[in-house]
Symmetry: C2
Amino acid sequence: MSGSLRQRQKDDRRLRMIHAALELFDEHGFSEVGVADIAERIGMSYRTIYRYFPSKEDVLLGLVIEGNHAFLERVDERLGEGPLLVTFADAMTEALEELSERVGEDAIRRMSEQIDRVESVRARALLHSADMRDRLASLVERHPAYAPERHSEIHLAVEVFGAVSAEAQRRWRSAPPGRGSLADEFRAVMAGLPAVVPSSPEASA
Amino acid sequence: MSGSLRQRQKDDRRLRMIHAALELFDEHGFSEVGVADIAERIGMSYRTIYRYFPSKEDVLLGLVIEGNHAFLERVDERLGEGPLLVTFADAMTEALEELSERVGEDAIRRMSEQIDRVESVRARALLHSADMRDRLASLVERHPAYAPERHSEIHLAVEVFGAVSAEAQRRWRSAPPGRGSLADEFRAVMAGLPAVVPSSPEASA
């Protein structure tokens, strides 16, 4: 979050594009909407939109990518403070709460539904998630608190965090709108995790 | 595994197609190989190949899909016998060991490398995995041993199993060829899982 006026104006603009796109996708369906339609709705030229987003798929994935950046920044600040998975979950709930405050929980939900509805976008979202997991693992590996012999553990924690994210999103989407935030579902899933993981032989000995 | 002669002949044919395709992809790169080339290498008509596989992407994903079917069958046989995640891991290591015996560990590895190399195929493999997790969850939900109040737990176990699979594949691919099987990596990842999951408040109280 840069505080400069110029940056804030750019962020506001991005957000207006995303909101307009979500409205239009809801009204007409993703495939029926073009970048020119998004531009028209907010009185900008379509070249302006293209300066921010390479395609309408990218407009739809805009909030996901932004939320994930905020998440990585927060992980970076907290690394070494506790168990990795807890660090990830805390960073994500904070990033989500901030995003939700800024754009509204409803926008996040509508975006998530649109992504699921269009297979090509869903495939891109899955590739983006896989890429994020790689970046998250590299971030942790480079941190002085994690010695090379812990690299396998790091990757496993990253994958399990991916599992927590997927399940939190599933529960949040299947709950009626307005009932609990995505951040709350993250917390609930984290709390339920030990029950599905068989305890280690050492732990039960 | 149907025991009929006709079925075995079909299975053998499928396997010859997959092996020939893997060889050709290795030699020339995925994008340079057509279904006609696969057909030529094994002296079949390309129409025969199309009867088994809708596209060359499907030939490449053939072993993945087959392995996952065998996995689901084994899960179905074992449900209710122990913790879900253990059931999944046991079913998967068995299915992998059988597949590896039939086609060779090396073929599985080459396939996996090819899938990673081509983004469109990788996206399809990710969609297939997401679909498999849905089918796995439905399979468990329909089983009498799992009451509706356990549905959240089931979905979480399925997602964590997806994490275990991804990490087992990563480790196996980064190990030098010939060093340990994918099934062995599954076991190792399962054994390391408790260390990355923070213990529940109840368990530590």
